[in-house]
């Protein structure tokens, strides 16, 4: 995205605005009455600009997935507000969620676990359309095949079990399913983890293509900064349940303000140089 495009989009109201979000897990210790508290989210503020890719980065356990679950309404936050398309959604009841669900979709990390092994590929993609009563009968199957082809999967594989697909193909299937309801926000929770580099690049290309065709806003959750270096418009860095840094990619990469961000960047550079050294060693 050019600087001019970024400025234009930034001028539009944010698609998602998170204010002071808080989520706490209370767990009981085994064989004891005592409890311990984990503050997964602490006073989180975040804005997602429409049609932009915001990368949410941070170490494991920093609260990224909890934030994603709250945004996808899979978990209720304990405090704070989530504004989506100008509407406060954090306290939506079941009836209001019917309107909201199709607008926000999520692609999970574990592609094998995220697809129902008892359904065929077409059933998996058609499932949201059927649940939301968008299509039925023959058109449902036809639409599922169209979506599969859109993400680069042959419609001939419609009757296959998800267990017969490779990791990358399964992730494409998950993306096709997420696209079925024509969402405005797509949350990708570590969706590229566990895939080889070539497959990661292919999925990133696919995401870039469908972002244009479907006018999508992405929240890409990852702990791999090098992955988002090329693609993200905005970067938010999470540490111990809080967003410690948020800005454009150029700003965060160019002049990181926080020590934790600098640490993450250094670790990424170390990993990249180690990876290059390993590659060179493999060649010799």
């Amino acid at each position: 995205m050019t600087a001019e495009q970024a400025t234009k989009r930034a001028a539009r109201p944010a698609l998602v605005r998170v204010k002071g979000l808080h989520k706490r897990y209370v767990q009981r210790r085994a064989f004891s009455r005592s409890r311990f508290v984990v503050d997964a989210l602490r006073n989180v503020d975040l804005e997602l600009q429409p049609e932009c890719l915001t990368a949410l980065v941070g170490a494991s356990g920093s609260g990224k997935s909890t934030l994603a679950s709250c945004l996808a309404m899979l978990e209720k936050p304990d405090g704070g507000e989530i504004w989506f398309e100008g509407r406060e959604i954090s306290r939506c009841d079941a009836r209001e969620l019917i309107w909201l669900r199709p607008r926000i979709q999520m692609v999970f990390q574990d592609s094998a676990g995220a697809l129902n092994p008892f359904f065929s590929a077409a059933q998996i993609v058609a499932e949201p359309l059927e649940v939301q009563r968008r299509e039925s009968g023959r058109t449902l199957h036809q639409r599922a095949c169209e979506l599969m082809e859109e993400v680069g999967l042959s419609a001939d594989w419609a009757d296959r079990s998800p267990l017969e697909f490779s990791g990358g193909q399964r992730q494409r299937l998950a993306i096709a399913r997420a696209l079925a309801l024509q969402p405005t926000l797509l949350i990708l929770d570590e969706s590229l983890s566990g895939l080889d580099l070539v497959t990661q690049a292919q999925i990133l290309n696919l995401l870039a293509d469908i972002r244009v065709t479907h006018s999508l806003t992405y929240l890409l959750i990852t702990h791999d900064l090098s992955l988002v270096g090329q693609m993200a418009d905005y970067i938010a860095v999470m540490h111990q349940g809080s967003i410690v840094e948020h800005g454009t990619r150029q700003r965060v990469f160019g002049s990181p303000q926080q020590a934790h961000t600098r640490k993450l960047l250094a670790a990424t550079q170390d990993l990249e140089s180690a990876f290059r050294a390993a590659q060179a060693e493999a060649r010799t």
């Binding site: 679950s69 996808a72 899979l74 199709p102 979709q105 995220a114 697809l115 092994p117 649940v131 079990s161």
Partner: protein, 320 residues
């Protein structure tokens, strides 16, 4: 099909092995049916020897085993010394009674445990979960013998239910409905005992299988698409949680002949339990072997049924 054929071959091998061991161990047990007769001064040792020769007990164990296998193929399953009749006819009547008892109890246990387990799994940490886990922990610690004796005591004191047996005196003179009612009232105590003994294990399995599947990412994904909770539980989670439950169902079917022996003895139900106890006490060798082998056949059939159901239901098993 290849998998099922392999399982069937495995089952047949197991049956042959079990029959050899069963015959061997029963034969190795000290004493014989004719030891008591030997003590009777009116019966001469020659008569006892002739009787032993008549029933083939003077032959070595391998010869007797082969003869027993031949009698199985003839449909006799050996010969009862005490009842002076082929074992099969004895077993058929008793096995029918046992199957009536365990069939009803197993059906009821599954009908209660599956919906209750699903409901508890859907409310983890809630009052239903705590109550369910607490009460099953209590039931697990109470032996079924104590449960049966407790119910019998209650029935004797209150006269609300018949105590012992399968039918009342004069059953043959009753009308159709009275016969059914009489049979059902006699079933209550042993069935209730078997339900309370079997429910805790099954309920905990259903709960833990469902609770684990409810954490799976595909359940989260379905929830994110707006799938209703009822559909999520029964269309998505239950088939995925069914794998261990189907194996358990195989065990339930396998235990239809052997799962109620103690309860039958205590409540006086004329099934295989009292027959086995009686045959063991009197060293009626072929009856003991017959009961043990029929239980083994049911166990193998139950496991085969579970394997077939797993192949039919779970695509992950088919993929393997």
């Amino acid at each position: 099909m290849k998998y099922l054929r392999r399982r069937l071959a495995h089952g047949i091998m197991l049956l042959i092995g079990a029959s050899v061991l069963c015959f061997l161990f029963t034969d190795l047990a000290p004493g014989s049916f004719f030891d008591e007769i030997k003590l009777n001064p009116q019966i001469s040792p020659e008569t006892v020897a002739a009787l032993r020769a008549h029933y083939g007990l003077d032959q070595p164990t391998p010869v007797r085993y082969v003869r027993w296998v031949e009698s199985v193929f003839r449909g006799e399953w050996g010969y009862s010394f005490a009842y002076n009749s082929p074992v099969r006819s004895l077993l058929m009547v008793r096995a029918r009674n046992t199957l009536l008892l365990t069939g009803v109890a197993t059906l009821l246990v599954w009908m209660i445990a599956v919906p209750l387990g699903i409901w508890i799994a859907d409310h983890p940490g809630g009052w239903s979960d705590r109550l369910g886990m607490g009460s099953t922990a209590v039931l697990l610690s109470v032996p079924e013998l104590v449960l049966a004796l407790g119910f019998l005591c209650l029935a004797v004191r209150t006269h609300a239910l018949p105590v012992g047996g399968m039918v009342s005196v004069g059953f043959d003179q009753f009308g159709q409905w009275s016969k059914l009612r009489d049979l059902l009232t006699h079933l209550i105590i042993p069935v209730l005992t078997l339900i309370l003994a079997g429910l805790p294990v099954l309920l905990r399995h259903v709960r833990s299988s469902m609770a684990e599947v409810m954490k799976a990412p595909f359940i989260d994904a379905a929830r994110a698409h707006g799938v209703s909770n009822a559909r999520l539980l029964f269309r998505y989670a239950l088939p995925a949680a069914a794998n261990p439950l189907i194996s358990l169902f195989g065990f339930s079917v396998g235990g239809l002949l052997s799962g109620s022996l103690l309860v039958e003895v205590v409540t006086g139900w004329p099934g295989l339990g009292p027959l086995l106890l009686e045959a063991t006490m009197s060293r009626d060798l072929y009856v003991v072997v017959g009961v043990a082998m029929s239980s083994t056949v049911f166990m193998i059939l139950g496991n085969l049924l579970a394997d077939a159901m797993l192949v039919a239901v779970d695509p992950r098993v088919r993929m393997q």
